[in-house]
């Protein structure tokens, strides 16, 4: 067990290194930031001095080493726009993003799995067909389109929900205040629709396959009640592989906060990255990519380890 965890840990570290390299390589190739950093009337002399001061005149390898040691110290440079350390800005915005992603994930799981089970038990019933049609629509609707339609209906036409901002924040989340909840509703729905539909469909397919297995029939032949067979025997087999999917999908959710936050002017990292890309604020982009990558790698690691505890077949 320990060996396996260490192995995964090593693998995760390796992936993180690769990512840091790719991110650095992209920035290296993206060209010289100095001209952006200096005022327009700077002389050629200023440019050369600035480049030397930032170490940009050194070779790729040397610069990469410098970059890594900076990362280790948590120093990713100051934002060109905000003038503060880039990492601080990203961390400051992170709770708002995580709040959206976590709540959307919870909503998707709590609705997606039960609806998936219902539609798998009697796949040809009218209820199942309705659920399946909506789930098809769910995976077909682009995130930004859902967000827009919600804004149009609830903000522009009905005027009942606020179209932007995070509302009143208590502790670390807006989920604890009425004003905050009102601000959360539309972004969370926007973010959840696709995930919900996906989890629903995966649950349904998994359940349908499992319910055809011999061991389900044998459980019936043993006289185990149908409810127990569906909600325990079959569900357990279906949910185990779903854990991996949910882990990966959480990463998707975090990524799609970029779209949601842009539409709802949500003050999280997603809005930050789009603004920073437009403003060519390179330190923020680098900090964002590294932090988000770390989150993804960490989730993958946790899911891998969790899986071995939950699935008896891979228990080491």
């Amino acid at each position: 067990m320990t060996k396996y965890i260490l192995n995964r840990l090593f693998h995760s570290t390796l992936v993180m290194f690769t990512i840091s390299f790719i991110v650095f390589f992209i920035m290296f190739k993206a060209g010289d930031p100095v001209e952006l950093m200096l005022p327009p009337d700077a002389t050629q002399q200023d440019v050369v001095e600035m480049r030397a001061a930032l170490g940009l005149d050194k070779s790729f390898i040397v610069q990469y080493q410098k970059f890594l040691s900076n990362v280790a110290e948590g120093n990713l440079g100051n934002s060109f726009i905000y003038g503060q350390p880039a990492l601080d800005i990203v961390f400051e915005r992170l709770p708002a993003t995580m709040e959206l992603a976590v709540i959307a994930m919870i909503v998707s799981i709590l609705l997606g799995i039960p609806l998936g089970i219902i539609s798998s038990i009697k796949p040809n019933s009218i209820l199942s067909r309705i659920i399946m049609f909506f789930s098809l629509a769910g995976i077909s609707v682009p995130v930004f389109w859902t967000g827009m339609i919600l804004v149009l209906i609830f903000s522009v036409i009905l005027g009942v929900l606020p179209s932007s901002g995070r509302g009143e924040v208590y502790l670390f989340t807006s989920a604890f205040t009425w004003d905050g909840i009102k601000h959360l509703i539309m972004p969370v729905i926007t973010l959840s629709v696709f995930q919900l539909a996906l989890i629903l469909r995966l649950t349904r397919t998994g359940m349908m396959e499992v319910l055809m297995q011999d061991y389900i029939k044998l459980a019936s032949a043993k006289g185990v009640p149908r409810k127990v067979i569906v909600y325990y025997h079959a569900l357990k087999n279906t949910l185990i592989p779903l854990i991996t999917v949910i882990g990966i999908q959480f990463g998707q959710l975090v990524a799609f906060t970029i779209v949601t936050e842009t539409i709802f002017a949500w003050p999280g990292t997603g809005k930050l990255i789009i603004d920073s890309i437009q403003n060519l604020d390179r330190p923020i982009v680098v900090a964002y990519l590294l932090v988000i990558s770390f989150i993804f790698v960490a989730i993958n690691f946790i899911v891998d380890v969790l899986y071995t505890f939950i699935d008896p077949r891979v228990r080491v």
Partner: protein, 318 residues
């Protein structure tokens, strides 16, 4: 009164391509402690017959006609709730492939114990545990206590089949249905499992329905034999009569097919052709296209006859 009496049972599947009459009007009965063998090729409707006894026919299949009198009660008319109390309790079943018969993510112990706990609400977990360990010992599983916490993937096929058998015997059923219980096992283990089942059904005073394609197995274990072909029983009677004096050309063929050690024939006998698709059955006797005795008379499905103490459906049998 017979323990189980099946009368004119019909189980049909309503598929897109037409009605598949997997079981089409079969009748047989089994006394207490008796062993009945149901023999036939795959697709003859043997397994569906077994599942019909327990009401385990999945959509689009349905029992459309007939009686399944178990202790005088017609199971074909009973509700799902009633059948659930019968299943695994009074009638238990053993499946063909032990590799797929056990739930891969639930421990062996739990799978055994639930068979007791859902039928005997008064039993405590402790009692169920003890009973499960005892039965594992009885089927000859080594290190029974340790196996309780094992998962299926940790065991061999033979061990799993012993567990499946143990599971079926837990509640001391009156009737045991074994669907090709040894087909998926190594030859060396097959005999062990078969004799274990015979011994246990005698010890437990259970009746046994043994479903198999292997007439050799039937000839060793059974008291009675029903030969099925394309959803119908073609010959049914006492083992001695059927094995030593088969009357139906199909039964004769099956027995001819068996290799004999004292026989130096170069090739084994084969029944020519294959069983017709259940969606494209010929008019008249279903076997006529493969039968060397068939003539114009066989264009009508043969009526039931009693010949030499057996029930038979053949115009040519005397």
């Amino acid at each position: 009164m017979a323990l189980l009496e099946v009368n004119n049972l019909k189980t049909h599947f309503f598929t897109r391509n037409g009605v598949v009459k997997s079981v089409d009007g079969i009748s047989f009965s089994i006394e207490k402690g008796e062993i009945l063998g149901i023999v036939g090729e795959s697709g003859a409707g043997k397994s569906i017959t077994g599942f019909s006894m327990l009401g385990l026919i999945d959509s689009p299949g349905k029992i459309v006609e007939g009686e399944i009198l178990f202790d005088g009660v017609d199971l074909a008319q009973k509700s799902e709730e009633y059948l659930q109390k019968i299943r695994g309790n009074e009638i238990a079943m053993i499946f063909q492939d032990p590799q797929t018969s056990l739930n891969p993510v639930i421990s062996i112990g739990e799978q055994l114990m639930e068979a007791i706990l859902y039928h005997n609400k008064k039993a405590s977990k402790k009692e169920a545990y003890k009973a499960s360990v005892d039965i594992l010992k009885l089927v000859g599983l080594p290190a029974a206590e340790k196996r309780m916490s094992s998962y299926p993937h940790q065991l061999s096929g033979g061990m799993k089949q012993r567990i499946v058998i143990a599971m079926a015997l837990l509640n001391n059923p009156k009737l045991l249905i074994a669907d090709e219980p040894t087909t998926a096992l190594d030859v060396t283990i097959q005999a062990q499992i078969l004799y274990l089942m015979k011994k246990l059904s005698k010890d437990f005073e259970s009746s046994l329905i043994l479903i198999t394609h292997d007439i050799a197995v039937v000839s060793q274990l059974c008291d009675k034999i029903a030969v099925m072909y394309a959803g119908r029983i073609v010959e049914y009677g006492k083992k001695e009569d059927i094995i030593f004096n088969p009357k139906h050309p199909y039964t004769k063929g099956l027995i001819e097919c068996l290799p004999k050690l004292d026989d130096n024939k170069e090739r084994l006998y084969q029944i020519p052709g294959i069983m017709p698709s259940l969606l494209g059955l010929p008019k008249g006797c279903y076997f006529k296209d493969r039968c060397e005795y068939a003539d114009g008379e066989c264009d009508v499905y043969p009526p039931e006859q009693e010949i030499d103490g057996r029930r038979i459906f053949c115009h040519k049998a005397k």
